[in-house]
Symmetry: C2
């Protein structure tokens, strides 16, 4: 029997207990041992829940119990999660977490403590919920130099953008709807400003580079400025708009960005709708691959946590995670990255054609039926720096959206 | 240094050597050791290729060399691959293969020999080329009861059906084109009759059930009878036609089938086009997930083979593969499985309406512009057995295609 402790009995924590109970026979068979939840740490009591008999309020009960081999951290947030996880590792327990904030900030250090002690720090559920992208990078795509990883990593914003695209709804309307049906929080900032996706792509970038990528260094733009008018232009272009979190190699550099992007029908991420997440990967020998699934939700996330527990039971005292060093990676400045830009501008395309072409060069003009006194255009490929300089000189730019690929 | 031998220097074998050479730095770093190709077994010589110095013609050189820890089998076919692989395992060497015929037929036995000797028999590349579905089932989706696995597992037929759907081409035309550009073989039987997909779904079915699923037991229907007229009806239904290889749980039973199926736009496999493959998985706690990538091709397949080699280097003398027992699984007879059926029939829908409804019950009639003297209809859900009995009594059925979902 392998005894484990679960820290945090919120949505994911109760999901972990539920999954272990529901699928105990197959889980134990695959782990090759019986997994037993001995403690659940929470500040609350749950008098009406059978879990109450396992509830402890003091983390030291877990840390000081030599029977506990694996600790599942699903409290979220940096503290006290960081302190608790570090103490558990130092006490010789492997840790499994779903906590993206913790992994993005302290992943390198916690991985290194785990490695020193022949333990594991596993975090499949921290990125993409039920999508097994971390283990794929760690043990399946190991023959490849990963040249690109681009994901739809936030279900809330993907739900909102899908509604705006397919139903012509506007931003405020879909945000309210998402809040009403529980897809978005009352304070939706972490989702709609891209902060959640940013932490996830920071983790993936660290994994593919083997170095620390600080999320604060990643240019991050949310979806709050996306309008239903933008979606009309997207349709005119045969494209859609998605919040993409992306990390790409340029020579020896990595460029990471979170921003809404126009995406063509031929891109595998084009059809990822509603709350689903997906991660597109390009390897230098593998070519294109994509992983798709539920990016969040109690049971899909718990499924990923429990799969990590099973993997850890199979590898007790044998370090299996790819390391990323604490050494910080300097990202390619956004100004030096190249792409095409879609721009919406005030006025009449026919009257402003010469002016736009003089500034932006050869562009493709767009008009959308029903939108008067404005027009759009798509630039050729240029750096963000070049675009910025041109845009500064232009008058009446309403909005700019980057074009992917 | 870990010495390996590659058996077979064809497309995949030369790809394996190329991938190991191209990405040696990152591969060795991830493996934690240097991987060295010591021998390549082939009946041919390659005087103009630097590989010639490693070429051996006698498998015993490999079997008898204690320095060889891992053998890569990429010859294809059952014999002599089976004999060689068994001898290698018995001589204490782990084996990595891309050979679906070998795995489908002898997987259970070879896994069990490997387990007895604390070795591994790994076969990621045998299903879905570069798509890491085997490792996902083995180590990522371990918290779930897998209730369904449905794949587009053959790139040739998917290329052909995509062309037929999007370009209105007919079967003979696209087959010729696929042969001309190398996507289909001169003798295309293994692809177009569904035999290739059948072996792959047999492997996946064995893995999710833990028992031997014989490919001969799987009802298999190819795409040779799919016409451009069928595609017109599919469009009328807002669907497409794909060759699906599927394994689903019904209670305690598993039902496996390979057949063309009508698929709606909301299905994640709807948009998988051209030579790409994809595997859709439904787990009881994970929900829906999908894995997408290159199903074949020299480098994507080699990428999967080399990733298995890396995994094996990290796990020398530690068995990591989920077993499937030699014990044969009895599949649910196709007659007992339920679905809706699309039927094309001779004559005039208005004149035959009463007759069709008397036989098939409540159906949805379809007419396609330009197709005269025939019509289509979609039945309600019924068993294959029921459908068969009704169809026997009906006159003038031109074609039947199953509807997925």
């Amino acid at each position: 029997m392998v005894n484990i402790a679960v820290m945090g009995y919120g949505t994911v924590g109760s999901g972990v207990v539920e999954v272990i109970n529901t699928n105990s026979d197959i889980i134990n068979q695959r782990a090759g041992d019986e997994i037993n939840v001995k403690y659940v740490l929470d500040i609350r009591d749950f008098p009406d829940d059978p879990i109450q008999e396992k509830i402890v309020h003091d983390v030291n009960v877990i840390i000081n119990d030599p029977e506990i081999r694996i600790v599942v951290e699903v409290m979220g947030g940096i503290e006290p999660a960081y302190t608790f996880v570090k103490q558990c590792l130092e006490a010789g327990k492997s840790v499994v977490t779903s906590n993206k904030a913790l992994v993005a900030k302290h992943g390198a250090e916690l991985l290194s403590i785990a490695k020193e002690r022949e333990l594991n720090f596993l975090f499949e559920a921290s990125v993409g919920g039920g999508i097994p992208i971390i283990r794929a990078l760690n043990s399946s795509l190991t023959a490849d130099k990963i040249e690109e990883i681009t994901g739809i990593l936030n279900g809330t914003t993907n739900y909102m953008l899908s509604k705006m695209f397919y139903e012509g709804a506007d931003y405020a309307e879909v945000l309210k709807e998402a809040q009403d049906n529980g897809y978005a929080e009352r304070n939706p900032e972490a989702d709609v400003e891209g902060y959640d996706a940013c932490r996830k792509i920071a983790i993936l970038s660290s994994l593919i580079s083997g170095q620390q990528v600080d999320f604060e260094d990643i240019y991050t733009e949310g979806i709050t400025k996306i309008t239903k008018e933008d979606m009309l232009y997207a349709k005119e272009l045969g494209m859609t708009i998605k919040l993409l979190a992306s990390s790409k190699r340029h020579g020896n550099h990595l460029h990471a960005i979170v921003a809404p992007a126009l995406l063509g029908k031929e891109h595998p991420l084009y059809n990822i709708n509603d709350v689903f997440n997906a991660v597109f990967v390009h390897g230098n020998v593998l070519g294109d691959a994509m992983f798709y699934g539920s990016g969040a939700g109690k049971l899909p996330t718990a499924s990923a946590v429990v799969a990590d527990v099973v993997d850890e039971v199979k590898h007790l005292h044998r370090n299996i995670m790819t390391m990323w060093k604490n050494e910080k990676l300097t990202l390619l400045p956004i100004e030096d990255t190249c792409k095409r830009f879609f721009v919406r501008m005030n006025g009449d395309a026919d009257k402003r054609r010469d002016e736009v072409e003089a500034l932006f060069g050869n562009v493709r003009f767009l008009n959308v039926e029903g939108l008067s006194d404005e027009f759009g255009f798509v630039t050729e490929v240029m750096t963000e720096g070049e675009y910025g300089k041109k845009a500064e000189k232009a008058e009446g730019i309403l909005h700019m959206i980057r074009i992917e690929g």
